[in-house]
Amino acid sequence: MSSSNEATVAVVAKVIQKFSDVAGGLLPLLHEIQAKIGFIPKDCVPQIARGMGLSRAEVHGVISFYHDFHDQPRGEKTIHLCRAEACQAMGSRNLERHVKRRLGIDYGDTTPDGRFSLEPVYCLGNCACSPSIRIDDDVHARVDAARFDELLDGI
């Protein structure tokens, strides 16, 4: 992968400049790089490490620890499906089967057309109106298979 082209290097350099003096700034830095580029290219790790005064292992360790960070390109939209107990109590296991079948992918995958990535999430804080899914930043309540199809068709 040669995503570390000049444009990427410039974006990362700018973000590093913003956070290099911030105490414990690696998380906000990674969030911002991901927001700007869509993911955190592996090739950027040495640049981030140098800029933040960390080892490459430390940077890689943080990226790989947190579920939110990805080192591969993502779909145009990310669908988070809640797998936690409150949603289970309202039938999320059935919804999960439907969503995977409809999208034709499993958790962590992206549809071949690059439109959707599917991720599990453990609680969206919408537990009084389960099951819940989140499409990018929008949470949807009381989602069953029919409602999911409606939402997907509306995108």
Binding site: A23, G24, G25, L26, L27, P28, L30, H31, E58, G61, V62, F65, Y66, H67, D68, F69, H80, C82, A84, E85, A86, C87, Q88, A89, M90, R93, V121, Y122, C123, L124, G125, N126, C127, A128, C129, S130, S132, R134, D137, D138, V139, H140, A141, R142
Partner: protein, 515 residues
Amino acid sequence: MLKVFVPADTTACALGADAVAEEIALQARNRDMDISLVRNGSRGAFWLEPLVEVEAEGERYAFGPVSAGDIAGLLEAGFPAQCEHALFLGKLTDIEWLARQDRLTFNRAGQVDPLSLDDYKQHGGYEGLNKALDMSPAEIVDAVTESGLRGRGGAAFPTGIKWRTVLDAPANKKYVTANADEGDSGTYADRLLMEADPFQLIEGMTICAMAVGATEGYIYLRSEYPKALGVLQQAIRSAEKANLLGKNICASGRDFKLHIRVGAGAYICGEETSMLESLEGKRGLVRFKPPLPAIEGLFGKPTVVNNVLTLAAVSTVLAKGAAYYRDYGSGRSRGTLSVQLAGNIRRGGLVEVPFGASLRELVEDFGGGTASGRPVRAIQVGGPLGAYLPASQWDTPLDYEAFSAVGAMLGHGGVVVFDDSVDMLEQARFAMEFCAVESCGKCTPCRIGSVRGVEIIDKIAGNENRSANLELLEDLCETLDAGSLCAMGGLTPMPVRSAVKYFPQDFARNNEAES
């Protein structure tokens, strides 16, 4: 001009509140009606969301649950005045579900514009800080101690004692941190508060800073809460402009700089030492204790780590006095508990009541039973690490010690209801699976034991040496319980054991096939 309120809360919006607000604005323009649309927070009556309110003659009238398609009909019927319409609920104060609660922490939620500092102050906001600024640090800590307030994140540690430790720790720098990594399934009280009444958290943190001598604070907010982030950012800016944060707060000579840090989707970062690691920009690995965070916390400095609701409650304690707060509650659990009714529940939402009410009262009286209409079979209290309670335990009073006595825990107050279609073996399996996914990996029993737990439960489901595997599962639970540094590994056995103990029939299917 009439004020119309449509919540901008996550759940309200997940149910269509944005479309409702847009439709009201559009129809009002078309009809030349002079209204002012306020995006308030939610009252927490999520079963009525989107709950639209209209202010007239000093009263609030409620309509709900409203969808965008209802607006034209509502206007025909006379909305926004009181009118004959199926969605008209009467005066807000007449909604029994809300009226029966004792709201200390959530009294402003839904009432005010979350982004208006003036609104906050007009409804009692910053009275607590004003009093605190006239008190010595020790006096503030004493008030919190006397109130009996205990940590609302789940561990229920006495807040005053924690603050005293930080106050007494000599250091050139101290921190206050709010744990807003509300990861427990079935909980949303922190989110609701931050979206509906963000200044209360800011005020509580500022009081804490004055009490312990901290000059910097962090709110560690989970990334799953983007709306709360937006509200908090704006609220912090307003507080800074009004000199309620920053340098020389209210000319007191004291500084308090408040930051927000967003997590990155790791449940374990709700554990206090893991949260501190994450704030330092590291992997969220749990730390050994001691040293306690109160002695060596963030960046090695004395640090208060409190849950959002704990810090928020401090504003009430200071404004109304320790005795006022302590007078609510039962036994050693003082004040109010914010119960979050969730899962398969007819009237789900936030119920703030004094400690001591029974679980049954909450689920049946407030909750109205299941959403599916089927009988309740199990209730999980306290999040994914909490026990599944069978019917025989539903009369347990909501009180830290009473729950502990039956092998359960109140945790952060999440109550997840399951009807009789639940398979408790699946739930036990999920508890182990969740632990495997979210373990930070530091302790072997948690990291590997959870994976083995899933495998053992699968064998039990497949009727493979069932009794031997049930024994092995109990043995594994004991190892996790005794051999883990933090509550993740230590408490994962709680849901598993309660499922096995109280719902044994779910672990004995295909019994006839057992050889």
